[in-house]
C-alpha cells in the first residue's frame, strides 16, 4: 500500500501517545532534574574520617592556638583553642580561613633557586657585604640568620625595631590609647578582649575607628596634636594650651589626667609603640613589663647583632636577602633602596610577587602557613616568655624554597635542626610548663623527657614560662616629649590610618566577603570630610590622587561627614603622616 501523509500523522500521533505510557519520558524528566543537582563543575567534598589536629597560627606574632578539623589529613576548618592561656580560643578572620592560603591563585610558581644562589655567591666572592632583612625577628629562624651572618665576613642582620617591653593588659585599669588599634588586630585578640572587661579604655584619635567606636570614651583629638596632649600629661604644657591645640574641652582633658593618676594601674599606648607618648608610662606607672624570650642554646649567643636599616651606610650592601615568608612590619622600599650598592643582588623569599618581589632581582617562593614549620615570637601583650610551633597541616602546594637554608648554606652552617636545639635548650633550662590541647593539660617541663617535650611541641603544644612580671627599668625613650610639630602648608591634610589593611595574604573568601559587605575600607580608597572634598573638587566615589611623602597614589575618594576636616582617612599604615588630595 502507499503511505499517505495521513498514515504518517497517524503513526506519529500513535507513537507519541504510546511513548507516554512507557516510563521513558517520566524517567527523563526526573533525571534532568537530578542532573541539575550534580550540575557540571560542582565539586564533591572529599569524605572520610574526621580528625582533629592542633597548631599555632603564624600569620602574626599573636600566634593563636588553632584546632584544625581535618578530613583525613586535609584541614577543612580552623577554630581557636580555649585552653591556650593567651589566645583563649579566639581567632581573627585572617586566621579562621588560613587553611585556604596554600591554594591562593596569586602564589609564586617558579623557583629560581640555582640562579639566585649563583648570583649571590658571585656578588660575595669579591668580599661583598651581605645583609638579611628579617621581617619577623625573634624567631628561631632569625637566630639562624644571625648565626650565619656572624660566620660570614661582612654579614649584617636587619630587622624592624622591636619594643624592648611587653604590655601587661590584664593588670591595667585605665588605658589611654593614642590611636593604637587596640580592638582591631592588636596584640593577641583573645587576650585583649578578655582583659577589655577589666579596664576603662580612653581612645585619643582624630577619627572614629573600630577601637574608638567601642571605647568607653573617645577623645576626638585634632589630627597631629597627640603630642600636645602627651605634653600636658607630662606636665610640660598648660591645660589651656593643650585644650586649644587638641580641640578637646579642658574639662575632659583634666578628667583624663585624673583617671590616669587615680584609677590606676594605668597604661598609655600609641600606634607604633615607639613615640615619646610611651614615656608617659613611667610617669603614670604604666603596666609595661620587660620582654622575655625563650631560652636559646649557649652556642648561639655569638650571633650577628640586630641592626636598624637606618644605621647601614648608603650604597654599602652588595647582597640583600629579604625574608617576607611570614608577614611582619613592612619596611618601605624607599628606606632600603639607598643602602644598596650598584648592581646589588636582592633576593626576596615571598609567597607572591606583590611585596618586595617588585624590587628584587629574584623572588623565591616561600612556604606559607600552614605549610611551613616555624616558631612564633612572643606577642606584644604576652607577659611571659613562650615558645610554640606552627606545625604544618598540609604539604606545600607547589615549589617552595627555604630562606634559612639559603642563607645558612652560604655560611656553611647547618641550621636544619635549630628548632629542636632550641626546644632542648628550653627543656634544659627546666622553667615553665608545656600546655597540650588535645587533653588540655599543663605539664611542668621538669616532669618531661626532652623527647616528649619536643613531641608535645610538634603536636601543637605550647611552652609557657610561669608568669613572672619583671617591671620595666624604663631605660629607653626620653620622658621629655618631643617638640610639637607645626603642619607645613604644602601638605594640608593629616593622613590617619583608620583600618588595618585587608592585605594580599588572606583567603580569597576573606577578600570576597569584605568586598561584598563594605565592612572594611579597601586599600584603594580614602575617606574625606565634605569640606575638604569640596575644596579639592572631589565627588563621593570620584577618582583622586593622594600625594604623600612616600609618593603619589591613585585612589577612589569617599565623602563622609563623620570624618573631621583636615583629615584623609586611609587603610595603608606606611602612609601615616601628612599629605594632599587632588582630583584625578
Amino acid at each position: 500500500m502507499t503511505t499517505t501523509r495521513r498514515n504518517l500523522f497517524q503513526f506519529l500521533g500513535g507513537g507519541a501517545v504510546g511513548a507516554l505510557i512507557t516510563p521513558a519520558p517520566w524517567r527523563l524528566i526526573t533525571d534532568t532534574a537530578i542532573w541539575s543537582e550534580n550540575w557540571p563543575g560542582i565539586p564533591k567534598p572529599a569524605r572520610g574520617e574526621i580528625r582533629t589536629r592542633f597548631t599555632h597560627c603564624s600569620l602574626c606574632t599573636a600566634g593563636c592556638a588553632m584546632r584544625a578539623r581535618c578530613v583525613g589529613q586535609q584541614p577543612v576548618s580552623l577554630a581557636g583553642v580555649k585552653t591556650h592561656p593567651v589566645s583563649r580560643g579566639a581567632l581573627c578572620p585572617w586566621g579562621i580561613a588560613a587553611h585556604h592560603l596554600p591554594y591562593h591563585p596569586r602564589r609564586l610558581r617558579q623557583n629560581p633557586w640555582q640562579e639566585a644562589a649563583a648570583a649571590v655567591s658571585a656578588a660575595l666572592s669579591g668580599g661583598g657585604r651581605m645583609a638579611v632583612l628579617d621581617l619577623r625577628p625573634g624567631r628561631t629562624a632569625s637566630w639562624s640568620y644571625r648565626r650565619a651572618l656572624a660566620a660570614l665576613p661582612k654579614g649584617v642582620y636587619l630587622a624592624p625595631q622591636q619594643p624592648g617591653f611587653a604590655v601587661d593588659l590584664a593588670s591595667a585599669r585605665t588605658v589611654l590609647s593614642f590611636g593604637a588599634p587596640l580592638l582591631d588586630r592588636w596584640g593577641t585578640p583573645g587576650n585583649v578582649f578578655a582583659a577589655r572587661r577589666n579596664f576603662r579604655l580612653i581612645q585619643a584619635e582624630p577619627v572614629e575607628t573600630r577601637t574608638a567606636a567601642l571605647a568607653d570614651e573617645w577623645l576626638a583629638i585634632r589630627p597631629g596634636s597627640e603630642s600636645a596632649l602627651a605634653a600636658w600629661l607630662a606636665g610640660e604644657l598648660p591645660l589651656l594650651e593643650a585644650a586649644a591645640r587638641t580641640g578637646i574641652e579642658e574639662g575632659r582633658i583634666a578628667a583624663l589626667g585624673k583617671a590616669l593618676s587615680e584609677n590606676g594601674p594605668a597604661l598609655i599606648l600609641d600606634r607604633d609603640l615607639t613615640s615619646s607618648a610611651m614615656a608617659l608610662n613611667k610617669r603614670f606607672k604604666g603596666t609595661l613589663v620587660a620582654r622575655r624570650e625563650a631560652p636559646v642554646p649557649e652556642s648561639w649567643k655569638k650571633a650577628a647583632p640586630v641592626s636598624d636599616i637606618a644605621a647601614v651606610p648608603d650604597r654599602s650592601l652588595n647582597v640583600l636577602v629579604i625574608d617576607e615568608s611570614v608577614p611582619g612590619e613592612y619596611i618601605p622600599w624607599p628606606a632600603i633602596e639607598p643602602k644598596l650598592a650598584g648592581n646589588a643582588v636582592v633576593v626576596a623569599f615571598a609567597w607572591t610577587r606583590e611585596g618586595y618581589g617588585r624590587h628584587a632581582r629574584y623572588t623565591l617562593p616561600a612556604a606559607l602557613f600552614p605549610e611551613a614549620l616555624d616558631d612564633i615570637p612572643g606577642a606584644i601583650d604576652s607577659v611571659a616568655a613562650t615558645f610554640r610551633l606552627s606545625t604544618p597541616l598540609v604539604a606545600a602546594n607547589g615549589p617552595v624554597a627555604d630562606p634559612v637554608a639559603f642563607v645558612t648554606k652560604l655560611a656553611g652552617l647547618d641550621a636544619g635542626n635549630a628548632l629542636r636545639e632550641r626546644a632542648d635548650a628550653i627543656h634544659k633550662a627546666g622553667r615553665g610548663s608545656l600546655i597540650t590541647y588535645a587533653d588540655s593539660k599543663s605539664t611542668a617541663v621538669k616532669d618531661l623527657k626532652a623527647e616528649d617535650f619536643w613531641k608535645g611541641l610538634n603536636e601543637g603544644g605550647c611552652w609557657m614560662e610561669d608568669a613572672v612580671r619583671t617591671p620595666l627599668p624604663y631605660g629607653r625613650g626620653s620622658d621629655k616629649s618631643s617638640p610639637i610639630a607645626e603642619p607645613d602648608a604644602s601638605m594640608p591634610l593629616e593622613i590617619v590610618v583608620a583600618e588595618s589593611p585587608v592585605g594580599p595574604l588572606c583567603s580569597p573568601l576573606l577578600s570576597k566577603l569584605y568586598r561584598e559587605s563594605n565592612l572594611r575600607q579597601p586599600v584603594s580608597r580614602i575617606v574625606l570630610s565634605p569640606f575638604d572634598a569640596q575644596a579639592a573638587h572631589i565627588k563621593d566615589g570620584g577618582a583622586a590622587v593622594l600625594e604623600t611623602g612616600r609618593g603619589r597614589f591613585a585612589v577612589l575618594a569617599a565623602v563622609d561627614p563623620g570624618v573631621p576636616p583636615g583629615v584623609v582617612q586611609v587603610a595603608i599604615p606606611i602612609l601615616a603622616g601628612r599629605g594632599k588630595v587632588v582630583a584625578a
Binding site: 541539575s36 565539586p43 577543612v76 581557636g80 573600630r210 576626638a220 573568601l509 566577603l513 561584598e516 561627614p561
Partner: protein
C-alpha cells in the same frame, strides 16, 4: 520541642567579620568573581556598619551582624515558596532552605524583609585546589538556587550522630554551636534553646536592652540584639529617610 535562637551584643561587636568568614568556610560558600558586590555576593551572615547619621564629632558607629532571623510566626519565606523548598522544623524552630528543591524563582527573597536570603547568580567556583578544603557536612549549591543561614545544619547533624552512637536521642548542647558563634572573638554572639530558661540566650532575650529587628511585622524572629546605646536600639524600627538617604 526546641526553639533555637541567638543573642547578639552590639556593644561588643567590633565588626571584624570573623563570623562571616567562619560561616563561609563552614557552609562551602564559593569565592564569587571580581564583579560581585554587596548586592550580588553570598554571605549567610552579613555585618553592616551603621551610624547615628550625625556629623563629626558627634558621629557614632556600630556594627550589626544580620543573618536569617529564623522567623517563628507567619514566616514570610515559607508561605510564598511555590514548591515547599522552605520549611520550619517543628523540632528546632529552624527555617530550612532546600537548594535541591528550589527552582530559583526568588519569590522568597522578595518576601524577606531582612535580605537574609541569597541567590547563586554564578556557577560555584573555587580557586584550583581549594575544593580540597570543602566541608564534607554541607553540600555545595548549584547555580540558580536560593540559600540562607540554617544555624549550621551540618553541625546539627554531626551532633545528632554523636548522640546516636551513644544511644541518646537528645544532643549535648556543647556539641551544637553554629560556626559564627564559635568564631566570634569578642563573645558578642550567643546561641542556644530559647525554650530553656537556664540558657544564657533565653536570659539575654528578656533584658530590657534587648530588641528584635522589625518586631512589629509580627514574624517573631528568633535573633535578639542588645545594646546600651539608645540610638542603636532605634534600628529595631522602620527606616526614616534622612536627607542623605533621599536620592533617586
Amino acid at each position: 520541642m526546641k526553639r533555637y535562637g541567638m543573642s547578639i551584643d552590639l556593644d561588643r561587636c567590633n565588626g571584624c567579620g570573623a563570623c562571616m568568614v567562619a560561616c563561609a568556610v563552614e557552609n562551602n560558600i564559593p569565592a564569587t568573581p571580581e564583579n560581585s558586590n554587596d548586592r550580588k555576593g553570598i554571605t549567610w551572615i552579613r555585618v553592616y556598619k551603621i551610624d547615628n547619621k550625625e556629623q563629626f564629632p558627634d558621629r557614632r558607629s556600630a556594627f550589626v551582624p544580620v543573618l536569617c532571623q529564623q522567623c517563628g510566626h507567619e514566616t514570610p519565606c515559607v508561605h510564598v515558596c511555590p514548591q515547599q523548598a522552605v520549611d520550619v522544623d517543628p523540632a528546632t524552630g529552624i527555617v530550612g532552605q532546600m537548594p535541591e528543591r528550589c527552582l530559583g524563582c526568588r519569590y522568597c527573597m522578595a518576601a524577606c524583609p531582612y535580605h537574609a536570603r541569597y541567590f547563586n547568580w554564578w556557577d560555584p567556583k573555587w580557586p584550583a585546589g581549594m575544593e580540597k578544603a570543602l566541608n564534607p557536612d554541607v553540600a555545595p549549591r548549584m547555580r540558580g538556587v536560593v540559600e540562607k543561614c540554617n544555624f549550621c545544619h551540618g553541625r546539627w547533624h554531626a551532633a545528632k550522630e554523636r548522640a546516636a552512637i551513644a544511644g541518646k536521642r537528645e544532643i549535648d548542647p556543647a556539641d551544637y554551636v553554629p560556626a559564627c558563634v564559635e568564631a566570634c572573638p569578642t563573645g558578642a554572639l550567643r546561641f542556644g534553646d530559647l525554650n530553656d530558661p537556664a540558657v544564657e540566650v533565653a536570659r539575654d532575650a528578656k533584658t530590657p536592652e534587648s530588641f528584635r529587628l522589625l518586631e512589629k511585622l509580627g514574624t517573631e524572629p528568633k535573633i535578639y540584639y542588645r545594646s546600651e546605646r539608645e540610638w542603636v536600639r532605634e534600628i529595631a524600627n522602620a527606616p526614616r529617610p534622612g536627607k542623605e538617604n533621599v536620592r533617586g
